[in-house]
């Protein structure tokens, strides 16, 4: 219990330090852009293909149930709402926690082991601001964008699956999918992933930056990053869903 409280306290202070440094000059635009490219562009194939596959699977599952009630016309809407409200944000965040979180943890830990962080400090450069802050900012910026791709690919997957069975046209699928869907079903759940991004960036950077166990610690930092980030993303999701319901009562399905 003491260890958990210690971890929560340390990560909270680490996160506050990130926020404070994010607004301090110089802003590392070059590093932020480089991280956005690395995290965003390189995560795109994983997120897109997962969205596509999930879209297909979801349609297959919902179809068998909705057929029993004669409600197959609802398949596109169910698909759309499920992806916008929960599947897109949560699955994209978990995928990014796996791919990017492990990467950040391992890379920063490796920089620590190979004395590159010390070298940055010795060159009078603030290593925290140079290494950690851009990665966290990039996670915050990239995750909502990846969710949009995930949602879009999920709908494409759903359409392909539905089209293969019922020969539903694109126009009709889109019309049915977006019927009754409001902005509050899309915008708040997508934007909440910025918080997930902050958690992933901060926690994985924390593990990498504070690692002091030599080369073995690099693997540990990566593993701990993935496990902790995934768990915290799910916990944060529970809280944020409640907050969204409070702020946007119309977003409840």
């Amino acid at each position: 219990m003491k260890k958990i409280l210690q971890f929560v306290g340390d990560v909270t202070l680490f996160g506050i330090r990130v926020i404070v440094n994010a607004f301090r000059r110089p802003i590392e635009f070059g590093e932020i852009w480089s991280q956005v490219e690395d995290m965003g562009v390189r995560s795109l194939p994983l997120v897109s293909s997962s969205g596509l596959a999930l879209g297909v699977v979801m349609t297959l599952h919902t179809r068998s149930t909705l057929v029993a009630f004669g409600a197959t016309a609802l398949i596109p809407r169910v698909q759309c709402l499920s992806f916008f409200v929960e599947i897109g944000p949560l699955v994209a965040a978990l995928l990014v926690a796996g791919r990017v979180g492990a990467g950040i943890g391992a890379v920063i830990a490796n920089l620590r082991v190979t004395e590159q962080i010390d070298a940055i400090e010795v060159l009078s450069v603030d290593s925290f601001k140079f290494l950690v802050v851009p990665r966290v900012i990039a996670c915050v910026l990239v995750l909502p964008l990846l969710v949009v791709f995930m949602d879009a690919c999920g709908l494409v997957g759903g359409f392909l699956s539905e089209n293969a069975v019922s020969h539903l046209s694109v126009q009709l699928f889109i019309e049915r999918a977006f019927k009754g869907v409001e902005l509050s079903n899309f915008v708040p759940p997508t934007l909440k992933t910025a918080v997930f991004g902050f958690i992933i960036g901060t926690v994985s950077s924390y593990y990498g930056y504070t690692m002091n166990e030599g080369t073995q610690g690099v693997g540990k930092a990566a593993t701990k990053s993935v496990v902790t980030c995934s768990l915290l993303v799910i916990l944060a999701d529970v809280i944020l869903v409640k907050v969204i319901f409070l702020l946007f009562p119309g977003s409840a399905i």
Binding site: P26, T114, E115, Q116, D118, A119, I120, E121, V122, L123, S124, V125, D126
Partner: protein
């Protein structure tokens, strides 16, 4: 003028403990400007820790450290960063940023700490790389370089801000005698041309005798001898005699 300002490097009764292990015990020495001091000692006697204390990567438990007049052991944040601008540090592993080209490795501190234009930075970096014989390799990543080339690149980066004091951790470690000798030549050239004060931690007595003006010998965290190499050859301690003698 006090000792802390007259000498480029001053350590006064510096002690450092990691857990239960006393790594340094009341170590004191000073290095006049333009002198090269080689720190010798068996493995685990606190040589590298001494260097890390001098650059402010770790803080002493007791004692004072002055580098170029700055009270390093008391500085934090921006003041420490400013003081470090006058200190170059060559890591044992060179510690080049592996995702940056050699050019960017050298350009980073210039971009961050000076108001120089891109063309000026390019000129300085080219000159620095040429000085260490890596002019044709500036677009290479550190992973594509040999150990000796990495060490030379690390030296070029350590010197890019024209420091008053250069701290060197094991310049010959992992290198063959010829390559190690090339690094020594570069250190000698730097000392002759720019009168840079140097503190060099090394196991290589041959190189230390070429570059160093004086030797400091550490044993079990204590400074047991300080003086010119020839003076220490007849030192009462067998450890000192063994460490300063080439064969």
């Amino acid at each position: 003028m006090t000792e802390s300002t007259a000498a480029a490097v001053v350590l006064n009764n510096v002690s450092k403990r990691f857990g239960s292990k006393q790594v340094l015990h009341e170590v004191s020495f000073s290095v006049p400007r333009g002198e090269a001091l080689c720190v010798l000692g068996r493995s685990g006697t606190g040589k590298s820790v001494t260097l890390r204390l001098m650059i402010g990567l770790i803080k002493p438990d007791a004692g004072d450290i002055f580098i170029s007049g700055n009270h390093i052991s008391c500085l934090e944040g921006k003041e420490l960063s400013r003081a470090r601008c006058k200190i170059g540090f060559l890591f044992q592993s060179a510690a080049l940023f592996d995702s940056y080209t050699l050019y960017d490795n050298l350009a980073l501190p210039l971009r961050r700490l000076t108001a120089k234009s891109n063309s000026e930075i390019e000129e300085i970096v080219d000159r620095g790389l040429k000085q260490v014989g890596l002019a044709g390799d500036k677009h290479k990543l550190p992973g594509a370089l040999s150990g000796g080339m990495r060490k030379r690149a690390g030296l070029a980066r350590a010197l890019v801000l024209e420091p008053d004091v250069l701290l060197v951790d094991e310049p010959s470690s992992g290198l063959d005698r010829i390559t190690a000798s090339e690094i020594d030549d570069l250190l000698l050239e730097q000392k002759a041309l720019h009168q840079t004060t140097m503190v060099i931690v090394t196991h290589d007595v041959h190189g230390a005798r070429r570059v160093g003006d004086r030797f400091a010998v550490l044993d079990q965290g204590r400074l047991i001898a300080l003086g010119k190499p020839e003076e220490l050859e007849d030192h009462e301690s067998e450890t000192v005699r063994k460490l300063v003698t080439e064969n």
